[in-house]
């Protein structure tokens, strides 16, 4: 049963454009995450938020910025996309920030032309 929702499912855009991805969880969790899955299927964490506060910010380009309005929402904005940003972006949530099961959304597939 899907409880982590992501929009859009797919997005195709051109280099230099701005894109924004949305994520919402209905599990009542305190912590949310953004992961990037590259073409080799490797999943790497980008950001995590606990109760609207940034707790993990991996070394990602500054054009990426997470935005959280409340603990149920964590959006991801990419200011000026580059070809290497083409990937699947997965949102996840967990009850707390340490040692808790993570539940993933269906992902947003980004293609930068």
């Amino acid at each position: 049963e899907t409880a982590v929702f992501q929009t859009p499912n797919y997005h195709v855009t051109q280099v230099g454009n701005e894109v924004s991805f949305n994520c919402k969880q209905t599990l009542g969790h305190d912590t949310m995450y953004w992961y990037k899955q590259d073409s080799k299927k490797l999943l790497k964490i980008m950001f995590s938020y606990n109760n609207k506060q940034l707790i993990v910010n991996e070394t990602v380009p500054r054009r990426f910025s997470p935005q959280s309005s409340d603990k149920a929402h964590l959006n991801l904005r990419i200011k000026s996309v580059e070809p290497e940003d083409s990937a699947v972006y997965l949102c996840a949530s967990s009850l707390g920030q340490d040692q808790d099961t993570q539940y993933f959304g269906p992902g947003t597939r980004l293609l930068v032309l």
Partner: protein, 110 residues
């Protein structure tokens, strides 16, 4: 993928047979999670493990923190078991972030 090494990288199974997937850790893993990513891309959590063993239906998983490995056993494989299986570990040295392996692609044949 270096800190969490999964094997094999790919697996082809006859329906009804059994198999095992493995993860070896070069970090001091404290907890392990196993996920299945289906062909559409959805990632489903299978197990959350502290050191020990868990079983759920035809799946069984074990995590040995001293020997730094985890296994996932599939019994009586079904077609819907096809997909990519990921293990991910938390470690204090990694700030309790999940570090993922590169995945094992499993294809169950009729």
């Amino acid at each position: 993928g270096d800190k969490v090494k999964q094997s094999p990288s790919a697996l082809s199974l006859q329906e009804g047979t059994n198999s095992a997937l493995r993860c070896n850790f070069s970090i001091a893993a404290t907890t392990v999670q196993w996920f299945l990513q289906n062909p559409r891309g959805s990632l489903m959590n299978l197990f959350y493990l502290v050191p020990g063993t868990k079983e759920n239906g035809r799946l069984k998983s074990a995590f040995d923190s001293k020997e730094s490995y985890s296994t996932l056993h599939i019994r009586d494989a079904q077609l819907e078991d096809s997909g990519t299986y990921f293990c991910a570990a938390e470690a204090n040295s990694a700030g309790n972030k999940l570090t993922f392996g590169i995945g094992t692609r499993v294809l169950v044949r009729p």
